[in-house]
């Protein structure tokens, strides 16, 4: 059974109001729906929500779906921002359309591709899915930007994400090449790392574009 798009959005808004903002219910105006709204009635039928007067309560039965709806929305936002490079209003709008496609395991695939992000571009938490828990249990770190490494840690360079080909060439000619190992020795005031026998300093902007697999 799949929920309608509108119903998913109501669940998201409820989750944010109740779980994140700590309210016990959400007002109809907050959800921007009328009491006789079709989507709301759909949720009511499933016993996901309970409408008392002007206020809508999220029932235990609806929590799991609400959580996943929020998760899909924020994963979609990450996708827009990190991979498709759509920022601001456009990114948000596209994310709203896109989130509804992330079902039947597509969200898991996307989450893995994005390396199990924990926050959306606006800094809100992304509720972890099963894939995140499994990765955590296996201790996988996946591929992270150099900025995520701590001083003293080593990593194998996985890829460079820069769009500027000049920068890319510079990094590559310095020996920052996929497959090479690096060892980070400082993170402040700039990132200092060693590749082979040479030491390099790069600023955070550049460090953000070097992706490594922790070892």
């Amino acid at each position: 059974m799949t929920l309608s798009e509108k119903a998913e959005e109501i669940l998201e808004a409820l989750w944010i109001a109740i779980v994140e903002d700590g309210d016990n219910a959400a007002h109809l105006t907050t959800l921007a729906v009328a009491a006789d709204d079709e989507a709301l009635q759909e949720l009511d039928r499933l016993a996901y929500v309970e409408v008392k007067g002007e206020r809508v309560y999220l029932r235990q039965e609806g929590r799991a779906d609400a959580r996943m709806a929020v998760r899909r929305h924020r994963l979609a936002e990450r996708l827009m921002m990190d991979i498709l490079d759509l920022k601001g209003i456009t990114g948000d709008e596209r994310a709203c359309e896109f989130e509804h496609l992330l079902r039947l395991g597509v969200d898991t695939k996307l989450c893995t591709l994005l390396n199990h992000p924990t926050t959306c571009p606006h800094g809100k938490p992304i509720p972890p899915g099963e894939c995140c828990e499994a990765a955590r249990a296996r201790g996988e770190t996946g591929v992270v930007a150099l900025t995520e490494l701590k001083a003293g840690e080593c990593g194998e360079i996985a890829y460079l994400s820069t769009t500027d080909s000049k920068k890319m060439q510079k990094l590559m000619s310095m020996g920052v090449l996929p497959g090479n190992n690096l060892r980070l020795s400082r993170t402040y005031p700039t990132f200092i790392f060693k590749v082979g026998n040479s030491e390099f300093a790069v600023d955070d902007e550049l460090a953000r574009e070097i992706f490594v697999r922790k070892i």
Binding site: Y159, L160, S165, K166, K167, M168, Q169, K170, L171, M172, S173, M174, G175, L177, P178, G179, S185, R186, Y188, P189, T190, I192, V195, G196, N197, S198, E199, F200, A201, V202, D203, E205, L206
Partner: protein, 653 residues
């Protein structure tokens, strides 16, 4: 490209390689001439040329700025590659750092692939051995198919082998490498469309075209007499096909080839714990220990050595004892006897006389200060401290529109702003170069000026503090504004951090001497010209007129009219102006507030003639005149504000 030996009367030897691998040391060893060697990437901005005889042949040696790859990114790299594109070398000597052979060998491949007559020098073997690496040079030579020589140039190890290899170099023998077949097919597709005459191998050019190298595109267009439609089409198609990973693919292919080449050549013994140098290096890069260390370096290097020893002890000795007591009276006596025409007497030994003003200032005041500065600078430079300083201040410099890289021109500016303005070339974006040029012109006093001003202000308690604060404030505020107002792309900071090394005495001395020689040749004529102009001005009354014209400005700053000549001198040499203040101070014409205001305004005021000329050369008329006007206005308004503030608050009076 081939049979170059027969064409050459003088054989050209071109030295290329990554920055900081010892090209300049090899150049000096080969030619006996001297180019500046340092432990700082990107020191050789210009190409040095020298001559030597090898095996009875006259050779011209060219030392190029460091380059990371055949595809240039910075200005220095472009300069270096231009040499390879335009000169017809007998042999190209690729110098690399043995410790990083794996990373630098891909460039050897690129040079070979370009069809250049390449020879490889694996340098810095001593340090490589110290960290437990051993490199089988003979095996590498066999695998590469070109002459390979192991060396440690700083210890003169391998020099005779290099000379022998150059002498016996067979330029018709070329090695060859292949990429994977699909890449080769694409390269060939483009190369076969090129029909013009080229110095470099078409395969290499095709590969550069595929990497969208604009300079090569331009050259190919010229050689193909504009008929590049087919080439462009083929290039664009391939570039689109491989849009995802072309650059990466090429690098990885080269890495793969190098890995195969180095298999069995390099063996690494397990290293011991961190050495003292490594530990010290870590301290310099940690802000908690790095900034105190910086203060120590500044205190001993700049304040004690340059300010105290150079501007104090030596200047006193030369100026006070030698000139005032012995030379000047003698010269003036001579003049009194032989130069009976009063205009000539004035010209030689008068108030602004060539000898009494020009020579005395140049030799007794400026030279010791600049000399000690360059010694301190060279020592610090050779230890490899500057890249560490660069990473330390990167965050601060980002706020003023520069990045850590700009630390070198800025520090060098404290020695000579003119030299520093030339060195701004090593910055990557035009925006940074402009900002750095403005800041150098405005707020960085050169050593000569600094020395005189330190001596001048240290007599008045508090003046030095006010002066430093005012300058730092102007530096930061203008930098901060420039960062917001100057258009252009923001550069990122990345830099190789060389190991800390103990500077070698000979190297430091020779380098200091070269810099002093440059400086002296540059300024001495200006001192003389300045004297002559001032003398002529005095004689014709033009000086009086200028002084009178500047008087209102002086009064507005609360200064006596007598300070005006110091400002006019200031334009001929910044330090000249400061030295003028020095004279006024000794004759008791300035009170503490006036002295401080004059010193601040003068420091900010227009750079000297030489710096202006270099600015014009590097940045063009429009920008340089803009900077000139801006700096003048800002200097005087800052002076005015400072004067009002000091009078209002009663500080210093």
């Amino acid at each position: 490209m081939s049979s170059s030996t027969t064409h050459h009367e003088v054989r050209k030897i071109v030295l290329v390689g990554n920055p900081n691998v010892g090209k300049s040391v090899l150049f000096n060893a080969l030619t006996g001439a001297y180019t500046t060697v340092s432990n700082y990437p990107g020191t050789s901005v210009e190409v040095s040329r020298g001559h030597c005889d090898i095996g009875g042949h006259r050779c011209e040696v060219l030392d190029t700025p460091g380059m990371y790859a055949l595809l240039p990114i910075t200005e220095e790299e472009r300069v270096a590659r231009k040499i390879l594109l335009e000169e017809d070398p007998f042999v190209v000597v690729h110098v690399l750092d043995g410790r990083n052979i794996e990373r630098m060998l891909p460039m050897t491949l690129q040079l070979i692939e370009a069809g250049l007559p390449v020879m490889l020098v694996v340098n810095i073997l001593d340090e490589a051995e110290r960290i437990g690496m051993s490199i089988d040079v003979t095996l590498l030579q066999e695998k590469l198919g070109i002459p390979v020589i192991g060396a440690a140039m700083a210890r003169k190890r391998g020099l005779s082998e290099i000379r022998a290899a150059i002498d016996g170099f067979d330029s018709d023998h070329r090695a060859r490498f292949g990429y994977s077949s699909d890449l080769e097919r694409d390269i060939l597709k483009v190369a076969l469309l090129m029909h013009g005459e080229y110095l470099l191998d078409r395969r290499a050019l095709a590969l550069l075209l595929l990497q969208k190298d604009e300079e090569i595109q331009e050259r190919v267009r010229m050689r193909e007499s504009g008929e590049t439609g087919a080439i462009d089409k083929a290039v664009n198609e391939i570039v689109f096909e491989r849009r995802v990973d072309l650059h990466l693919r090429i690098s990885l292919e080269r890495k793969r080839i190098c890995k195969g080449l180095l298999d069995g050549v390099v063996t690494q013994r397990e290293g011991e714990g961190p050495t003292l140098a490594e530990r010290l290096s870590a301290w310099t890069m940690n802000p908690w220990t790095g900034f105190p260390l910086l203060l120590v370096v500044l205190y001993f290097g700049l304040f004690k050595f340059v300010g105290g020893f150079g501007a104090g002890t030596i200047v006193d000795l030369l100026e006070g004892s030698l000139f005032e007591e012995i030379i000047n009276p003698w010269v003036i006596g001579l003049a009194d006897r032989f130069l009976t025409w009063s205009w000539l007497h004035e010209l030689m030994v008068g108030e602004y006389g060539i000898f009494t003003l020009g020579v005395r200032y140049a030799v007794a005041i400026v030279l010791p200060i600049v000399g000690t500065f360059f010694i301190a600078f060279s020592v610090i430079e050779d230890t490899g401290y500057f890249p560490r300083l660069a990473m330390l201040v990167d965050r601060i410099f980002k706020k003023i529109g520069l990045n850590g890289r700009a630390v070198i021109p800025m520090v060098l500016g404290f020695g000579c702003d003119t030299m520093a303005t030339i060195v701004t070339r090593t910055l990557e974006t035009v925006r940074e170069r402009v900002i750095a040029t403005v800041l150098l012109a405005l707020a960085i006093p050169c050593s000569a000026q600094l020395g005189v001003i330190l001596g001048l202000l240290s007599e008045v308690p508090g003046a030095l503090v006010v002066w430093s604060l005012s300058l730092s404030l102007v530096f930061l505020v203008i930098g901060f504004l420039a960062a917001r107002l100057v258009p252009g792309e923001r550069a990122m900071f990345y830099m190789e951090i060389p190991p800390l090394r103990l500077p070698q005495v000979r190297n430091v001395l020779v380098k200091t001497l070269t810099r002093m020689q440059w400086y002296f040749l540059e300024i001495f004529p200006l001192f003389i010209i300045a004297s002559v102009l001032l003398w002529a001005g005095k004689l014709t009354g033009a000086l009086d007129w200028l002084v009178k014209a500047m008087t209102p400005a002086m009064y507005a700053l609360g200064l006596p009219a007598d300070v005006a000549p110091a400002f006019i001198f200031g334009f001929f040499r910044r330090d000249f102006g400061a030295a003028g203040l020095y004279d006024l101070q000794t004759s008791g014409l300035l009170n503490p507030v006036q002295l401080t205001v004059a010193a601040v305004t003068l420091t900010l005021f227009v750079p000297c003639v030489a710096q202006f000329l270099v600015m014009q050369k590097e940045r063009g008329w429009k920008v340089s005149i803009g900077i000139f006007v801006f700096v003048t206005l800002l200097a005087f308004s800052s002076g005015w504000v400072l004067n009002q503030l000091l009078l209002l608050t009663g500080v210093l009076s």
